[in-house]
Symmetry: C2
Subunit: 199 residues, 2 copies
Amino acid sequence: MTVSLLEQLIDALRVLPGVGQKSAQRMAYHLLERQRDGGRRLADALAESMERIGHCKRCRDFSETELCPTCASSARDAQLLCAVETPADRLAIEQATGFRGLYFVLQGRLSPLDGIGPRELGLDLLAQRLEEGEVRELIVATNPTVEGEATAHYLAQLARARGVQPSRLAHGLPLGGELEYVDRGTLSHAFGSRVEIRE
Amino acid sequence: MTVSLLEQLIDALRVLPGVGQKSAQRMAYHLLERQRDGGRRLADALAESMERIGHCKRCRDFSETELCPTCASSARDAQLLCAVETPADRLAIEQATGFRGLYFVLQGRLSPLDGIGPRELGLDLLAQRLEEGEVRELIVATNPTVEGEATAHYLAQLARARGVQPSRLAHGLPLGGELEYVDRGTLSHAFGSRVEIRE
Ligand SMILES: [Zn+2]
Ligand SMILES: [Zn+2]
């Protein structure tokens, strides 16, 4: 039995994260019924992106040019370097904070059991960058998970060994969160790290 | 400021139903990080589907050929015709039941306020089909909504006027549903339509 084009489309849509058979069907029908132009635009954007988006040779973020616009900008503060696990984390920080320094995207975290070591995270590139002498502070913004913390520890040593000050995002109660719903680890940490209230 | 290819991809993904900015970002990063081949396959399937999938000239379902495989099959019972609102409804019936007759896909329901009348639902085509004399029963499987019921009523008249027996899917308690959670209308209908329990 031959597979119809519609079945091929539904199957292909399942490559998207969180999209199962039912959602893929709904998406295919939606595009065919009401969004053929949008479907064509998506096809073009996908084809072009999969071919042309690579990694910035300086920060390892996704980029369609050898140097991403952030690394190429002269308006950013090259003394501050922020290391993140993923491009999504980089985007979150860029959108939420007023940070005007530069980034380094690890594209992962140390995970020896999965074969992800310093080499896979481009730490040779990062070490070289820190040795250039321009960076004064390495802001380590890995995730507050076991592997993220181990990675942060490793990066902090790497920075110190090159005379660069490492720093870490503060832990504590999330703004607007209710104390009773905060997890125990966070609450305990926030309590232990309490700060004096000044007048 | 120019829009990067990545931003174009994220924007294009939002054409998919239920996909907002956050999901689109997650999808784009997922494809770029782990599924470039899958992304390329999706691009190809989309491009080809948007161009080549049209409607079956007999049942109005999506089809890449003039006549869909179901309409073209000699193994189906042409005396039974089942009218549904959408291709998704047709697929649901095909997958859930043992129905071996043919389908007619309205691609909508009567909705005069939205300018959707008999013409938009291809009812001229349906009337002509019923006049051919082969169909004996028209199973009306429109949705149990106000517009779906109005459409069912219209289709039943259209069938009767051509000597074809109309029928409607049974209403009642969903299998495995708990009585206390069934909506009032359904419960009231199921109660009124109760059937004798035979030995
Ligand atoms: Zn860069
Ligand atoms: Zn057909």
